[in-house]
Amino acid sequence: MAELNILEAIRLGMDEEMERDPNVMILGEDVGKKGGVFGATEGLWAKYGDKRVLDTPLSEGMIAGAAAGAALYGLRPIAEMQFADFVYPAFNQIVSEISRMRYRSNGTFGLPMVIRMPYGGGVHGALYHSQSNEAYFTATVGLKVVAPGTPADAKGLLKAAVRDPDPVMFFEHKKTYRLFKAEVPDGDTVVPIGKADVAREGNDLSIFCYGYMRTCALEAAETLAREDGVEAEVVDLRTLRPLDRDAILTSVAKTGKALVVHEANRFGGFGGEIAAMIAEEAFESLDGPVTRLAGPEVPAVPYQHDLEEWFMLSPAKIVEAARKLAAY
């Protein structure tokens, strides 16, 4: 077991997959000599060379579309979007082509590829370096979407994504990259796509979260236990599509109360799907309204410090929402 932060875990995951399979390659902006703007690919260019760690021109459409073509050819590309905020030039390739190549060809063409994207706020990135835009991809049939919250999950899910026969959107919350270190199983440990993780057990209410929110929710849960005697169950979804419905419904059946937390704004956000699913399938076991806690209804995170703080969710805000629901 090694102690790694999430950034190191992702790098190690890619390194091991590239060693394992010569078809795995990385492409993106500044992923080569510079090692990526966050350092995720540091050292890999020196180790695997110009072609397998490929600095592309500044064209996200090209990155996604060429990765798709390479996947058709038999490679297993890992494409990096420098920031999730800059994925939109690639949206046509991802939605029109990558998500449905298999369906439209009746299963004869598959696209095993990964698109890695740093997302999320709290790093003074403002409107265009802070977005949590997972809802565009969770709404897209044919994609898989993961958002790990721990180093072990980051590495294990990265490996699963690279080996998956279908395209995987891999969301990395940039605030968590160096937030903490934790034990990561050595070697070939794969975390299956589609399985949630009960990060903390509790009987009073369920908190559903992913990415950076896992850390905030766990901290909030400790406060709730300490100050309110409320035992919150924290369920880290890890995979957003396909969603682990069983894990969610099992937890709600136990607690009767569901709090769905995400950093993105609420209206039209992914939380709506989780909340609606719970409301429909767990109707009889609900002791309180399925509650969503999400970012405010503005286009993205504003820059100035106080404004950013106003936008961001936090353990304190989760505690507040959980108290209201627990008291219901």
């Binding site: 021109p57 090209m62 073509g69 050819y73 390739q93 029109s96 009746n106 299963g107 696209l111």
Partner: protein
């Protein structure tokens, strides 16, 4: 190229093509045209809801595609590429089956509209509707060959309107940077549905853009099949020599309305439409082959009846195929069954590569 002087030896001989070769090319064009016309018949008969046609594009497609190697090279076509797909080895029956949307159709199992063929067994990428997306796939396929060090060339086809999509620019630039083994074929028929070249292409030439990406762009007359062949062969050789991409702009004619949903009389002059007949590449190439004593009425007759018979057989077989089974409609959203991995081009290619 179209005006290169005629030698005493027939021009195709200069190009290293035998009489049989050029007759085979002519036959491929006849075949593509006949399949296309059959689709229209089926559409009028109510068997097909929608038709988008390659009539007028066949010379460019057959000529340029001729040098491609089946099973080794890759093709990312568009919705007018019947002639190219046939030349690259797709069967008549599979083309017709795709239009009839049959359940065991290799292209999409009846999931896609007519004109959206393709298939892993042929190295032909599944056609989609959003124009231009396939150009990046071709570049990605070429990148795959380049990363692996394989001798494989990717070719892609698109219209002059599509040339103005941002993705086409991104594709050509990237291919230019790394001298990828890819051939860009722009079939310029002067219209994007109703929008004429002058309102579509700044500078009026798509070929002229290649220079800005660091590779050659040439314009060929789509009626000059041998000129198209020469351009395709040179582009293919350049790609294999590691010298990078070529952009070939073929000036072709759109002999039909944009599709069965369109009526070009709304935006095209009657004279212009009338003049199209004389520019029919089949007619032009046929005359050339007669002039060089390769084609005779008798051979022409024979070829046309052979082609007709083949299409009749293929149509019968295609029509006899079963409609899709609705219970399978949710299959293949993901590789939810073992066959997927096996059947996927990815898997196939990895075995090759």
């Amino acid at each position: 190229m179209s005006n290169s002087k005629t030698a005493t030896k027939p021009r195709h001989a200069d190009l290293g093509l035998s009489d049989d070769d050029v007759l085979a090319m002519y036959r491929e064009m006849l075949l593509a045209r006949a399949v296309d016309e059959r689709m229209w018949l089926m559409q009028r008969a109510g068997k097909i809801a929608f038709i988008i046609s390659g009539q007028g594009h066949e010379g460019a497609q057959v000529g340029i595609t001729w040098p491609m190697r089946r099973g080794q090279d890759w093709m990312a076509p568009f919705y007018r590429s019947i002639a190219a797909a046939l030349t690259f080895g797709m069967s008549i029956e599979d083309i017709i089956t795709a239009h009839l949307a049959k359940g065991d159709d290799v292209s999409s199992g009846g999931r896609q509209m007519p004109g959206h063929y393709g298939g892993a067994p042929y190295n032909i990428v599944s056609v989609s509707s959003p124009v231009g997306t396939q150009v990046l796939h071709a570049v990605g396929l070429a990148m795959g060959a380049w990363v692996r060090g394989d001798d494989s060339v990717a070719i892609t086809y698109f219209g002059e309107g599509t040339a103005n999509q941002g993705e086409v620019h991104e594709a050509m630039n990237f291919a230019g940077v790394h001298k990828l083994p890819v051939i860009f074929v722009c079939e310029n028929n002067g219209y994007a549905i109703s929008v004429p070249l002058a309102k579509q292409v700044g500078g009026m030439s798509v070929a002229a853009r290649a220079h800005g990406y660091g590779f050659p762009g040439i314009t060929v007359d789509g009626g000059d099949v041998l000129g198209c062949y020469a351009a395709g062969r040179e582009a293919h050789e350049r790609a294999r020599r590691g010298e990078g991409p070529t952009l070939i702009e073929a000036r072709v004619v759109r002999m039909t309305s944009h599709s069965s949903d369109d009526d070009q009389r709304r935006y095209r002059d009657p004279e212009e439409v009338a003049a199209l007949k004389e520019q029919d590449p089949l007619l032009v190439f046929g005359r050339q082959l007669r002039a060089s004593d390769v084609l005779t009425d008798e051979i022409d007759e024979r070829l046309r009846s052979e082609v007709k018979a083949e299409i009749n057989d293929a149509s019968k077989r295609a029509e006899a195929r079963p409609d899709p089974d609705v219970t399978t409609a949710e299959q293949w959203v993901y590789a939810d069954s073992p066959e997927a991995a096996a059947g996927s081009a990815a898997a196939a290619a990895s075995e090759q590569g």
